[in-house]
């Protein structure tokens, strides 16, 4: 007998955790002398009440879908990929190389090429930690953290020494050619009469992200590979018994994870900045952890959580714009979400389990 009904596990617990995180966030806002209700209203107005707000919310959400899926695919194999950040950085490099050095006739081909570039570079960056974990038992959490730093150093080197156009000041690549410009929501949905999503960076990559959700869902629950990934994640000894190679699954799961993380850069680098800049990832790799935790590692949950975090991000930017609350408030909220949904999960779960068991005893 399960300790708890399934709906409680996948809906009730995240909701309670989220509520706790929101409650503590409100306390924090109060503590710095601001009004949480007013802050929330400002965030909602700025992020959800205008089409451009949605354009930003969904832009950020696109990033978080990719990194959230990346974390969750790895997590199905019980691999904790903290390296999304580094994988996304190098994914950006893949996008830049694809966009700068190949003559694309049309954006639709370019986005495919850039996706492949991003996925390959991201996957490559996940491959080494995966291999070391599988073959040499090096703890993947530590190696992926290290690889984040190493990726930052590489990107730094490449941008400063190799890709920066002569005479330019920022460590950034040249602007991508016009042909690889991705249609933004503004391009797609504005009509003659009304301009929608004006200036917002959301672009077709959002649909690519939705597609990724679907593909990951099919992969994890409908295919042999997904079956093997989940089986390996639940029990390594059982996987070995079944002839599922731990090395192979570790490597494949991390390759997929790294590829997904890398593909985030299609959105930021190709869809938004249209050149490779330093720190275009802006911590999205880490937010993927919170998104995956909240979404219970299910693509649909990841989608919802990503939109929630997109809202927080855009709302936070609005706060910084119109009040004196720094954008770091969002970092705090993010921390609280990770803390309550991830680390303090049992604090919510245990009393609930007791409650359900007691209820069942009484009914029996």
């Amino acid at each position: 007998m399960d300790k708890m009904p399934k709906w409680a596990d996948i809906v009730l617990i995240p909701l309670i955790s989220l509520f706790l995180a929101a409650f503590f966030s409100a306390l924090v806002i109060l503590a710095i002398g601001e009004n949480p209700i007013a802050a929330l209203k400002l965030m909602v107005d700025g992020a959800l009440m205008r089409s451009a707000g949605w354009g930003y919310t969904l832009y950020y959400a696109t990033n978080f879908i990719f990194t959230g899926l990346a974390v969750s695919v790895a997590f199905h194999a019980r691999l904790f990929n903290i390296g999304g950040e580094g994988q996304a950085m190098l994914g950006g490099l893949g996008v830049a190389l694809a966009c700068l050095y190949i003559d694309w006739p049309h954006w639709s081909l370019a986005i495919l090429g850039a996706s492949v570039g991003a996925a390959c570079f991201g996957a490559l960056w996940a491959l080494i930690p995966a291999y070391l974990q599988a073959k040499r038992g090096s703890h993947i959490v530590i190696t992926t953290i290290m690889f984040n730093f190493i990726a930052a150093a590489i990107l730094n080197y490449v941008l400063v020494e190799l890709l920066r156009p002569v005479g330019a000041m920022d460590p950034a690549s040249a602007k991508f050619p016009e042909a690889v410009h991705l249609p933004t929501f503004q391009d797609m949905f504005s009509t003659e009469g009304s301009k929608l999503f004006r200036g917002a960076p959301a672009n077709v990559t959002f649909f690519l992200a939705l597609l990724a959700c679907l593909v990951v869902w099919v992969l994890i629950w409908k295919t042999r590979l997904g079956y093997e990934i989940r089986a390996f994640g639940e029990s390594e000894t059982a996987a070995k018994y079944a002839g599922i190679s731990p090395v192979r699954i570790t490597v494949i799961a991390m390759l997929i994870s790294g590829a997904l993380a890398g593909m985030m850069s299609v959105n930021t680098t190709m869809g938004e900045s249209e050149r490779l800049i330093l720190n275009s990832t802006e911590g999205a790799g880490f937010i993927g952890i919170a998104v995956a935790l909240m979404g219970r590692n299910h693509p649909f949950g990841v989608l919802l959580a990503a939109i929630l975090f997109g809202f927080l991000y855009q709302g936070g930017a609005e706060l910084a714009l119109w009040t004196s609350i720094p954008r770091e408030l969002i970092v705090v909220i993010q921390a609280l979400v990770i803390l309550f949904t991830g680390a303090l999960d049992n604090m919510v779960r245990e009393p609930l389990e007791k409650l359900f068991i007691a209820m069942r005893r009484r009914n029996a």
Binding site: M1, T223, R230, A238, Y241, A242, G243, E353
Partner: protein, 528 residues
């Protein structure tokens, strides 16, 4: 009558939805050895752990020497004079013996004085009880038997008057076990009280004064050992009359299916576990491998099943099987016609979090008949799982239920349904009835025999001699990675196999006897 050394009243304990102990009361007289028996999962360890303060009871009281005593933690238990040797030792593997002994019982805040004190005391205890261990040796370098001594020394060092031993002989050779019981006798003579948990009725009958039987979390009876019999105890354990022998025709073995030559296996720690064995299994016979746990049987199964590497030669139906690399994994073995019921169904045979239907294709998930293009044919698998569960009488027959939610016996039936229905040429089957109740045991044994009668080869590994003797046609005994003997099942007995299991190949003294339940007087010193 003096006050009992221990008296438990109305102890209850639930782990989540599992009621491990239900309103248990028991009392043990000082200076006696009290046995506790029961099937796996009956709640024996839980009860003792409560007495030792490891778990907290939900309800109930504990009296020590007539005094009501609160035991919220192990510190309190130690203060009350209780010592416990757990089923799974609680030692710090990379500490020395001495450090393990003083841990938690140091004199003062500095280590030096504690260590020298303990060294003296240890010497004294070693002389008194013959419990010799090198105090400066690191635990991981000690044999299991010596590790157990350290556990006993830990308890004695803390001046335990009451000693609890949880399945102490499961990991010992018969010789080591004999030595253990001599020590226990000494302690009893000194007036110490001993509680002994064991699965072996022989040990209960031989060494205990009184015995309690547990079943499904409840204490079903407490009796004087002298006033009971093994048959009676078995009945108390499972709740009904027990059939001990399996109904089967004599074997009709034909051609060789599996042929092993010079097989060696080195485990991950670099220890050689199988040291060159030769073995054949023919179609239509059941070969049983007997041995104390840890003598290489598991590794043998692992190599055959494809999840450990080995060296040597193995042929299956005349073709050589690779022993390393991709061609030697579980998938390749299944393709070669080998099915495998693993020793540990929960850690190996099943994914506990997966639903039963998903588990019915575990290991066979690449089979073409369950694919639907690039996807898995989940609907087909589900329908087939439902039918399988009917045929194997899995209860409840609900394919959606997660494997962890079935009882041990039913989990085993799911594994068997999956492996037997593949109709393999060779079935590897490890500890098939561990923790399974007698009704299910009968069913499982019957399935295995049926498969044999269809002309399939079966290799059975079990630590239960009774099971080997009743199920196998031919018995091979393993000790320390070697085969120490081979007997025809109907022409040997537990005594003889016991000697082989201790590495003694000269069994003339006990050979050809039948039964083998009479008390042995023979001293065996296999280990120094």
């Amino acid at each position: 009558m003096t006050a009992p050394a221990i008296e438990l009243k109305g102890i209850s304990k639930a782990f989540g939805p599992v009621q491990a102990n239900k309103d248990i009361s028991i009392s043990v007289q000082p200076g006696t050895i009290h046995g506790i028996i029961g099937e796996n999962g009956a709640g024996k360890s839980t009860l003792m752990s409560i007495l030792y303060g490891f778990y907290k009871a939900d309800a109930g009281e504990i009296f020590i020497k007539g005094q009501k005593t609160l035991i919220p933690d192990s510190q309190a238990a130690i203060r009350a004079g209780i010592g416990m040797v757990f089923q799974h030792f609680k030692l710090v593997e990379n500490f020395t013996v001495l450090e393990n002994i003083i841990l938690g019982a140091e004199h003062g805040a500095m280590l030096n004085s504690s260590l020298s004190n303990a060294r003296k005391e240890l010497k004294h205890l070693a002389e008194e009880y013959g419990l010799n261990v090198d105090p400066d040796e690191v635990i991981e370098n000690l044999s299991v038997g010596h590790q157990q001594r350290v556990e006993i020394l830990k308890a004695l060092y803390r001046k335990a008057e009451i000693l609890i031993l949880d399945e102490p002989t499961g990991v010992l050779t018969p010789a080591e076990a004999d030595q253990l019981f001599r020590i226990l006798d000494r302690l009893r003579e000194e007036g110490k009280t001993i509680i002994l948990i064991t699965h072996k009725l022989r040990e209960i009958m031989e060494f205990t004064d009184t015995v309690s039987v547990m079943r499904r979390g409840e204490m079903t009876a407490t009796v004087k050992t002298s006033e009971t019999s093994p048959e009676h105890l078995a009945e108390l354990m499972v709740g009904r009359k027990v059939l001990l022998r399996v109904d089967k025709k004599p074997a009709e073995p034909s051609e060789t299916v599996l042929d092993i030559k010079g097989l060696r296996v080195v485990d991950e720690a670099g220890v050689e576990r199988v040291k060159g064995i030769d073995l054949t299994v023919r179609a239509g016979e059941i070969v049983g491998i007997a041995g104390v746990a840890g003598n290489g049987q598991s590794e043998l199964l692992e190599v055959l099943g494809g999840f450990a590497d080995g060296t040597g030669e193995i042929t299956m139906n005349g073709t050589a099987l690779p022993l390393t690399g991709h061609g030697a994994d579980g998938q390749a073995r299944r393709a070669a016609g080998i099915s495998h019921v693993p020793e540990d169904r929960q850690r190996e045979g099943l994914i506990m979090e997966f639903a039963a239907w998903e588990n019915t294709v575990f290991g066979y998930h690449h089979s073409p008949e369950i694919q639907n293009g690039i996807l898995m044919d989940n609907n087909g698998i589900y329908t087939e799982a439902e039918a399988k569960m009917q045929r194997f009488d899995v209860r409840p027959p609900d394919p959606k239920l997660a494997a962890k939610n079935f009882s041990g016996g039913n989990q085993q039936k799911i594994v068997l349904a999956r492996e037997i229905e593949r109709n393999p040429d060779l079935l590897l089957i490890g500890q098939p009835t561990r923790g399974v109740d007698i009704g299910a045991i009968e069913f499982i044994h019957q399935q295995v025999v049926n498969l044999r009668d269809q002309g399939k080869a079966i290799l059975l590994v079990s630590v239960e001699l009774e099971e080997i003797l009743s199920l196998a046609d031919r018995v091979v005994v393993m000790f320390d990675g070697h085969i120490t003997g081979e007997r025809v099942a109907s022409q040997t007995n537990e005594k003889e196999l016991g000697l082989l299991m201790a590495g003694i190949t000269d069994t003339s003294a006990v050979a050809n006897g039948n039964g083998g339940n009479e008390n042995s007087t023979q001293e065996v010193h296999a280990d120094g």
